[in-house]
Symmetry: C2
Subunit: 151 residues, 2 copies
């Protein structure tokens, strides 16, 4: 399949090989693309499918994937690291912004259009050249906002 060719290319050009375990983890990420899974969740899902993999290997794989730009490591302050696929890992893709609902805990992904202005501003005021950024917004999603209004 096409996407696994891209995976292999990306791994090989960074000096890694495409093993069955790395392929399984990648497939799991694709099939749960909006899930922000933890290493342990990936491990459990693969085990349920009777795919033999060790938890250490999942952690190692996520570390490699993140280092070579296949995934982003994200943190929603619940004590575990989570991972999401980088949208288009051949080019310079934008990192997601996360809208974290304080009501129901759901996490929505949002893209950033206005960040460019902010980056220019930071460069001017601080002489700081931004390479990447992580933006988390805490608030109330549409559903929870409605529920709040009723009370």
């Amino acid at each position: 399949m096409n996407s696994n060719l891209t995976l292999k290319k990306k791994l090989v050009e960074s000096g890694y090989s495409l093993t069955s375990q790395r392929e399984e983890v990648y497939t799991e990420l694709i099939e749960n693309a909006s899930a922000h899974m933890t290493a342990e969740e990936i491990f459990i899902k693969l085990s349920q499918r009777h795919l033999r993999i060790g938890l250490s290997t999942v952690y190692r794989t996520m570390s490699i994937f993140t280092n070579i730009g296949i995934t982003d490591k994200v943190d929603f302050d619940d004590g575990m690291s989570r991972y999401e696929l980088v949208e288009d890992f051949s080019g310079n893709s934008h990192r997601h912004h996360h809208l974290i609902c304080l009501g129901c805990g759901r996490v929505e992904d949002a893209f950033d259009d206005l960040m460019e202005d902010l980056e220019k501003d930071v460069l001017e005021k601080f002489s700081f050249n931004i390479i990447d950024h992580s933006v988390k917004m805490y608030g109330y999603c549409a559903d929870c906002s409605k529920k709040q209004d009723k009370n």
Copy 2:
């Protein structure tokens, strides 16, 4: 002193009392206002001053301070939580943005002026009401940018 009156007020109105330990921690935060200290760093600094305090108490205190809005808990991806004083914890103060230098590791604090546009945008597109946000910018500070240019 004036600021400790504010500390007491804030604690009492949330149902806590002002103990000597909480006062010591607060003083330490004031004196290292730009330091983004970990609980353990606070513990060590206080111990060096021969102020008797337990590490658990520091953790508990930071948890309370953060819950009632005296401090913000910040995370620079080094495996430890760090804390910074909220600028003006009687009013609605802006949270800091952090400029994290990938070269030297230094962390600068920046305020947000342009975030309001971004918040409006998120409200329109996602019906998501933002209460708070956390923004981390990774890049190169003025010094490290210069060094890079030379190479």
